[in-house]
């Protein structure tokens, strides 16, 4: 399977000349609309982050000096880096063998591993953190109590301390492993087995062939997955906030709590630069993928390898991952959600369904759910519309600034939600943004969600357009249809399955959005995630929060199932991005 970006390179070169239209009215309108949307939703926030770090009542580098002399902020930066590196490395250590096992060996539990990877990817990060805190709190965490009992340990704390940097790594690991796994499995499944066979014929063992042939071929996909895990770990907010660990996203939030805009801006700049470097690296890896491409015109299926004694080890790793990433955290949450008092343990007298009753009957939770659903639906619709229009301008017109639009549209991938929220506060509290009056209303959340999710719309839009042969559109033009009519009557119906899939994807990702929502929340802007965090932080308590979390997880999973079914109906879905 050809990746979206590689396909883009080939098709752009071959189809550009004949297909790109001149400056028709529609082309100009579409280009104008694209520029306005991307500048408002992406360009302005990114500029605001950088500008506010060097401009406070005049140009100054004071904020950077303060940052460099603040032990707390430097510790936060160091923590962010350590955690992101830890997650990236461990994701490769766990994700790569699992991907190899599932794609190329006869290990057991393949389907369960795949399903767990998907669940880890769609699980809101703070839900897993909740499960882990209850499971691995050093004094009373259920796993710690069990381990102390099983191994007869005398101490009253540990052995696992979730409230540590390692604990934070653990909470985000399932997600990182899933990134590496999903980056590697298609590459492994499409590899030409002749390369490995040649090594075996020369006398290499199965493991030596993997080490000397397979691993080097997989390096780009492996690095791309690891860098994505690194960047998403830098951007996470919920788990470090819940564990009480200073990282850059939490520093931005803390600085804003004290209305210290200067510190918030520098923390945001540092975060954006670190994410930018990682994502730039990831794109570079994928761009050079052709160098490693092993897919020719000949059809083949990679041979299954019998690893002998190593196969049960892979199965054991799979069991470990499924337990850690899904069964234990969600099992703990379900158990706690059924308790009257969290202090009285899991026994019949302490069982209740009241926590679910509270969640399902609470007016503010209902209101938050309604707001999240409407915001997610609005964001998904606008993202899809912007995605189609911008992709059209980039791929099918001669608009001079189209490559700038291309870069601008993916920029938010490097801007964590906390940084976007900070930028929107700066823009919409000051002239002329304050004239819109959207600060404190749901509209500002919508603007934040658009900034976060436009890259998905544009990337999927481009991949969809690239898969439609330009001749079909040309025929329409030959028979007298205008460019706009061709888009509406020919192109849009053909890419409709992708449009629907992208809509559902953005909808699912937007529903539990936390990092921007928490910073922008006001009276009418409590969303599912901010209200859940509020319940966890005492406005209801841990047991109610667990019931709430279970409800969110079930809803998001059902929605994903629908998206997957819709996606499966269309062969076009292959190669589309999930985030």
């Amino acid at each position: 399977m050809m990746s979206a970006e590689a396909a883009a390179t080939v098709d752009r070169a071959s189809t550009g000349k004949m297909q790109r239209s001149g400056s028709s009215g529609w082309s100009l309108t579409a280009a104008g609309l694209s520029v306005v949307c991307l500048v408002i939703f992406i360009g302005a926030p990114v500029a605001a982050i950088f500008l506010s770090s060097v401009y406070q009542d005049g140009w100054t580098l004071e904020a950077y000096r303060d940052f460099l002399s603040s032990p707390r902020l430097l510790t936060a930066t160091w923590n962010s880096l350590l955690v992101a590196i830890g997650i990236a490395v461990l994701s490769v250590v766990i994700g790569a063998p699992l991907a190899f096992g599932v794609a190329r060996t006869n290990m057991q539990l393949k389907r369960i591993v795949r399903a767990t990877m998907i669940l880890a990817l769609i699980s809101p990060e703070f839900l897993l953190a909740m499960g882990y805190i209850l499971m691995a709190g050093p004094n009373a965490g259920y796993a710690n109590v069990a381990l102390r009992a099983v191994f007869g340990m005398q101490s009253t704390a540990g052995p696992i301390d979730i409230f540590s940097l390692w604990g934070l790594v653990l909470t985000a690991l399932p997600n990182g492993v899933a990134f590496v796994f999903l980056a590697l499995t298609p590459a492994l499944a499409n590899m030409d087995p002749a390369l490995e066979e040649a090594a075996r014929l020369k006398g290499a063992s199965a493991l030596e062939a993997i080490r000397d042939v397979t691993l080097p071929l997989m390096r780009p996909a492996l690095l791309a997955g690891a860098l994505l895990a690194f960047a998403t770990s830098l951007a996470m907010y919920g788990p470090p906030e819940m564990l009480g660990i200073d990282v850059l996203t939490v520093s931005i939030r803390n600085a804003l709590l004290g209305l210290d805009f200067a510190s918030a801006s520098v923390a945001a700049v540092v975060l954006v630069l670190l994410s930018g470097i990682a994502l730039g690296g990831q794109r570079l890896m994928l761009r050079n993928e052709d160098r490693y491409r092993t897919l020719g015109g000949k059809a083949f299926a990679p041979r299954r390898i019998d690893l002998g004694w190593a196969t049960p080890l892979l199965t054991a790793l799979a069991v470990f991952y499924v337990l850690i990433a899904f069964v234990l955290p969600y099992g703990t949450m379900i158990a706690v959600s059924l308790m009257k008092s969290i202090g009285n343990g899991f026994n019949i007298a302490n069982l209740t369904l009241d926590n679910y009753r509270v969640v399902l009957s609470d007016a503010s939770i209902r209101k938050a759910a309604l707001l999240s659903v409407s915001l997610a639906a609005s964001a998904a619709t606008i993202v899809v519309a912007i995605g189609v229009i911008v992709s059209y301008v980039i791929l099918r017109t001669r608009f001079a600034g189209r490559s700038a639009l291309d870069y601008l549209s993916i920029l938010p991938l490097a801007v964590p939600g906390t940084a976007i929220a900070f930028a929107l506060i700066v823009i919409y509290l000051n002239w002329p943004g304050n004239l819109t009056g959207i600060y404190g209303t749901p509209t500002i959340l919508l603007v934040a969600y658009l900034a976060r999710f436009i890259p998905i719309g544009v990337r999927n839009g481009q991949t969809a357009l690239l898969q439609i042969s330009p001749e079909i559109e040309e025929s329409s033009r030959v028979f007298g249809a205008t460019e706009f009519q061709t888009l509406m009557r020919i192109t849009l119906p053909l890419i409709m399955p992708v449009v629907i899939y992208t809509w559902l994807l953005v909808f699912i990702l937007a529903i539990p959005e936390l990092s921007a929502s928490i910073i922008l929340r006001g009276f009418s802007t409590q969303t599912i995630s901010t209200s859940l965090l509020s319940v966890w932080n005492g406005n209801g308590g841990l047991a109610v929060a667990c019931a709430y979390g279970v409800c969110i997880f079930v809803s998001v999973s059902l929605l994903f199932l629908i998206a997957a079914l819709v996606g499966r109906r269309s062969a076009l879905m292959r190669g589309f991005t999930i985030g």
């Binding site: 707390r72 619709t381 600060y439 009557r489 308590g541």
Partner: protein
Amino acid sequence: MPKPGRVSMKLTRTVTALACIFAAAPAFAQEGPLQIYSAYPDEHMKALVDGFAEQYPDVEVQISVQPGEQLISTVELELRAGRPQADVIGLNQASIASLQAAHSAFAAYKPAGLEGVRTEVLDESGTSVPACVNLYLIQYNTNAISEADAPTDWAGLLDPRWKDQLALADPASSQSVHSFLWFITEHLADEGDDYGWGYFERLAENAPRLERSHGTIRDMTASGERPIAVQLLANGQTSANRGDPTSLVWPSEGSPGEISSFAMFEQSDNQEAAQAWLDYIVSPEAQAIMPDALGCAPVRNDVDYTFPDGTAVSDVTIVPVDADFIANEREAQVEAFDQAFGR
């Protein structure tokens, strides 16, 4: 494949719907119901809202809860943007005074029935209306700590045996804990080496977990994860209602009492309903349910009350906090606390 005409029509409809969403979104914010920003949890506010509805059935009340310090920053940003998004705010007296000093955001109001309220809890400026007195005490998990082993005073928390067992609210996130900071660093400052900022330097050696809110601390104590904590009476009351395995200690040095209050925004579109709420808060009816509602001690003289563990009010040394000091020194106190905790 859908017919092309239909797609075009659907797109037009979608665009129209989007335009409506954009146009309608800012209007979600104001008008209609009485909107109350609250640092008190929903479950604490519910009894008050129900009681208010009995007296004012025509007024719909909406509550939006955020931990105190976060609520202060939310409101500060909204005030910078031009107007607050609520009619009334529920915070402690010191925090309301601090917001008032910075923004003059609240309207003075003297509710009917204020004459029945104890004078020592009244706000001289007339901006905030006292609802109840929330006291600091020690809460501990009875499965992990026996009554005999539990400390009897604040200084007892400095004992090394409580290392990794304690929880305390983070003054960077919690408005209430500033009352406790004032009590230890100002009120008890002259009582020896066990108090003043030295207290927090030694407390830091016991590595307490610094949580963003007292509600989280309540659950940490109930679960045994942090079996002993500096806690607010309101959460002790909630634990008692839930049947958590916890108990309370009234420290011998006394308990700082912060005044849980409400105030009405100057810019409220719903002044009449806001005033009705403030009238209700000090009414004998609301004060009678205050222990079950906000979980703290009523402010009227004519309402009987005993603490959730059965202790009589007269047996507890209640120390009214210096709201002015807390309002004015908030930032300096946070800095000094950070220094004591080496962060």
